[in-house]
């Protein structure tokens, strides 16, 4: 039974919620930032008048009369807030980033300007920060043995680009496997996920084309869009009414000065947005794309392997056909425990990209052991290695996700995002709590990633948990107990269980039928 909202396009309920910031918390956050800004000005004053030693980067003496390099807000923020809580980031780990990880302990004697290692290694920290959705980051098992065998056969380096001498038979095997996994005609693999986006979007669109990109797209998509030279218009995050308005304006008015029709309209969306934990409204995007005859570029970096009953990503999660998406891009970094990215689509598109993509022409191709890791893990997920390990992992991840999110919501934290996304952002808001949360969780042997400005809006800082199929229920229970304690200690339970309702407009306002020509 299709769920009757938004045109009856959804086969399952779409539960996404972003609870509003409580007013008192927002005011107190601004108060905190105000205090930090005042002290920042004081310290900058002292540094300029040489009362205090200046330890950050400054211009040389001869360049003091030039246009200043470090006076903008980002550098001010960097010197005066980020440095004070810097010990929660760049923590060196010294083991495989599985469900548990070892970390090297470090201390700072001059308030995080420099760090020294004590030499001690903190062992078995529960890892809630690595993008290890299906638990393939392992140092023992079939993937590791296959990769070791290929390493002894091919070595580690490729020493060439894909077009010259770097096209191994392993790459061809991988690409056929990826195409079969996704259900597309053909696929191509690249060495780096970021470079896949930023180097291939310029090959697909150029001047005279229009790019409609989501507000919260990743830096690689933004960079690729800007490099291409096309006109970029932004629509509100996951808001289909905003996207439809932009599409209508584009078709009706055409290019800005000449009023000619756009050569191509490309919609850039992501499968799971990693800072919000939200899932794209794919059925509606595809309906809009078909109605207005534009192209869709779907970046499944976080959703491939993590969503869908057999791990084939957000297209399978919604029960749609992969032929509706023109360009399916993804990365191997998150769910497959390797590195690199891929693009899948029609055969003509991929053949075009093989010749014209900057990444294929100039970047070194994937290293053979990494390719073997991807091949083995993908076969495991598909079930072709003869076991049900892959299917069990996908189901374990879904169970872990539902359980963890439900427990956190019951405890009273503000959690953003969709019910089914394995990325769980927990809102912190106040800047001092960013540093305090990271440190308190490390004291209790749990490693988390905390995020602040500029990756998020300035008052909406958060802690981001990435669940994994390798987490057992005991590990999740331990983590939840500690999060509960730290939440009481730091007063993080802001939720008043007043959810902002999703804007499901009535059916007759948005029509998704194709117009008759």
């Amino acid at each position: 039974n299709p769920i009757v909202h938004n045109g009856g396009l959804y086969k399952r309920p779409f539960n996404e919620a972003f609870e509003e910031t409580p007013m008192l918390v927002a005011v107190l956050t601004y108060v905190g930032y105000g205090v930090l800004t005042l002290f920042g000005y004081l310290r900058d004053f002292m540094r300029q008048w040489k009362i205090e030693k200046c330890q950050n980067a400054t211009e040389r003496e001869e360049q003091k009369d030039f246009v200043p390099l470090y006076q903008d807000f980002e550098n001010f923020y960097n010197r005066n807030l980020y440095m004070r809580i810097r010990d929660s980031w760049n923590r060196p780990i010294c083991s495989v980033p599985g469900a548990k990880v070892d970390m090297m302990e470090r201390v700072s004697h001059d308030y995080n300007w420099t760090f020294t290692y004590t030499g001690r290694v903190i062992k078995d920290i529960i890892n809630m920060g690595s993008y290890n959705y299906l638990g393939f980051a392992q140092k023992a098992g079939t993937c590791q043995e296959a990769a070791a065998k290929v390493l002894s056969q091919y070595g580690a380096g490729v020493c060439s680009t894909r077009q010259e001498m770097g096209n191994l038979d392993k790459h061809e095997e991988l690409e056929k496997l990826v195409a079969r996994f996704l259900g597309v005609e053909s696929a191509m693999a690249y060495g780096m996920g970021f470079a896949t986006n930023s180097m291939n979007i310029p090959a697909l669109v150029g001047k005279g084309c229009l790019i409609l990109s989501d507000e919260l797209n990743h830096a690689s998509l933004v960079l690729g869009a800007r490099l291409s030279g096309a006109t970029i218009r932004i629509f509100k995050h996951n808001n289909m009414q905003s996207l439809e308005k932009l599409l209508k304006d584009a078709i009706v008015h055409g290019q800005p000065r000449t009023r000619r029709p756009w050569k191509k309209i490309l919609i850039l969306v992501e499968g799971i947005y990693s800072m919000e934990g939200s899932i794209v409204r794919l059925p509606e995007v595809i309906a809009l794309k078909k109605k207005y005859k534009s192209y869709l570029y779907l970046d499944e970096a976080h959703s491939i392997g993590a969503l869908g009953p057999s791990g084939r990503g957000v297209v399978e999660y919604f029960g749609l056909s992969p032929e509706d998406v023109d360009v399916m891009m993804g990365t191997f970094t998150k769910s497959f425990g390797a590195a690199g990215g891929y693009i899948g689509g029609k055969k003509e598109l991929i053949d075009y990209l093989r010749t014209y993509s900057h990444s294929a022409v100039y970047a070194t191709s994937l290293s053979p052991p990494v390719v073997e890791q991807i091949i083995t893990s993908m076969k495991c997920i598909m079930g072709e290695d003869g076991t049900t390990v892959g299917k069990a992992r996908v189901q374990q991840l879904a169970e872990n996700t539902r359980y963890f999110r439900r427990r956190l919501k019951e405890m009273g934290f503000i959690i953003y995002g969709n019910e089914d996304s394995p990325v769980v952002p927990l809102m912190l808001y106040m800047p001092a709590k960013i540093g305090a949360f990271g440190r308190e969780m490390l004291k209790r042997n749990i490693g988390v990633v905390v995020v602040g400005f500029p990756a998020t809006p300035i008052i909406e800082s958060r802690a981001r948990f990435c669940l994994s199929a390798a987490h057992t229920k005991e590990m999740l229970d331990t983590a939840l107990k500690e999060i509960n304690e730290v939440g009481d200690l730091l007063q993080l339970k802001y939720s008043r269980h007043r959810l902002v309702p999703l804007l499901d407009r009535p059916f007759d306002e948005t029509t998704y039928e194709e117009t008759e020509d």
Partner: protein, 76 residues
């Protein structure tokens, strides 16, 4: 035992104050400066309230009762 709980509770309140005003991330000398300024401002607010609020409340009460009652008050 109770004294320890009370002391822990007061320390927890002090910790919340440090977190909300972001003095948790400041260096010790900055924290002392911030605490001095905050305590001074707070003391001045309390003193001003103690000196002026009762007089103002009494005057406001007289003013409103004169308007509402309508009887001329003798100004002695």
């Amino acid at each position: 035992m109770d004294i320890k709980r009370v002391k822990d509770y007061i320390y927890w309140l002090y910790y919340q104050y440090l977190l909300i005003t972001c003095s948790y991330v400041l260096e010790p000398w900055e924290q002392s400066m911030f605490h001095t300024i905050t305590v001074t401002v707070f003391a001045m607010v309390v003193y001003t309230a103690y000196v002026f609020v009762p007089i103002h409340v009494r005057l406001a009460f007289e003013f409103f009762s004169q308007i509402l009652g309508g009887q001329p008050e003798s100004t002695v």
